[in-house]
């Protein structure tokens, strides 16, 4: 199993943290027509909280791609405790 996993890791390419916003920016422009920074500002302000794929295709993926904020970090820690 470990050998199979190692071989398929040849097509796994890590993206560094400073490159991650480039990824968010590209996706935000394609999906919403706005910059990644603008999306982050609106997301942190709760603007997309009630949106899902139907109303805004691709917004959920974008939200998952975005680096977590302080509020999201706290929510994830709470989730980790509840799903242990």
């Amino acid at each position: 199993m470990a050998v199979a996993a190692k071989k398929t890791n040849e097509r796994v390419k890590w993206i560094k943290r400073d490159q991650a916003m480039t990824l968010v920016d590209a996706r935000a422009k394609r999906v919403l027509g706005i910059s990644g920074a603008e999306f982050m500002a609106k997301w942190n302000a709760g603007e997309y909280r009630n949106l899902d794929s139907d109303a805004c295709p691709g917004v959920i993926e974008l939200a998952l791609l975005a680096p977590p904020t302080g509020r999201a970090q706290r929510a994830r820690k709470k989730q980790a405790r509840s799903h242990r």
Binding site: R49, A80, R84
Partner: protein, 167 residues
């Protein structure tokens, strides 16, 4: 599969995730580390899929973290959120979501493109089950021989069933 340290657990997880996805795409999968213990896996742009009849792409985003098991002291990956989507030229065709952080819908659910504004509740879905559904019902052609992709998906789905802490 658990690892002796965080990196081993993550590499193992990424490897098996990629192995399952290799059944239908050879695009590069991109892991990203957002913080000390927040990671995600994605394709950017969405991965093209082989389909005789239509243009199809695959969007995957899976966020995860590493936890240490108290009984074994081994590290294992825990999924925090996911989004798996089959896309066509007109948008999302079918997608499975679980995004309990920061959104109003906290339970795992399904979207069907032809049925708008409905979040169909589901169990937690493995990427292997999603891939199998695409092959069986959405005309997505596997890149591997039948005997090989079936074996990979079955093996890795059994590992998911064994390791997942909830379904």
């Amino acid at each position: 599969m658990p690892g002796r340290n965080k990196q081993e657990a993550i590499d193992s997880f990424c490897g098996f995730f990629k192995e399952s996805l290799s059944c239908i795409t050879d695009s590069f999968l991109h892991p990203v580390q957002h913080s000390a213990n927040q990671y995600l896996l994605t394709y950017e742009p969405p991965a093209p899929l082989l389909c005789q009849t239509e243009d199809r792409t695959l969007s995957v985003v899976q966020t995860f973290s590493c936890v240490r098991e108290t009984d074994t002291s081994l590290w294992k990956v825990r999924t925090n959120q996911y989004s798996y989507s089959l896309n066509g030229t007109g948008g999302e065709i079918v997608s499975y979501h679980w995004h309990p952080i920061g959104t109003a819908v906290c339970y795992p659910h399904l979207h069907v493109g032809s049925v708008a504004n409905v979040h169909f509740p589901t169990a937690r879905i493995s990427i292997e089950k999603f891939i199998r559904m695409l092959i069986d019902y959405y005309d997505i052609e596997p890149l591997l021989a039948d005997s090989r992709w079936k074996r990979i998906l079955d093996k890795n789905n059994k590992a998911f069933d064994k390791m997942a802490t909830w379904h």
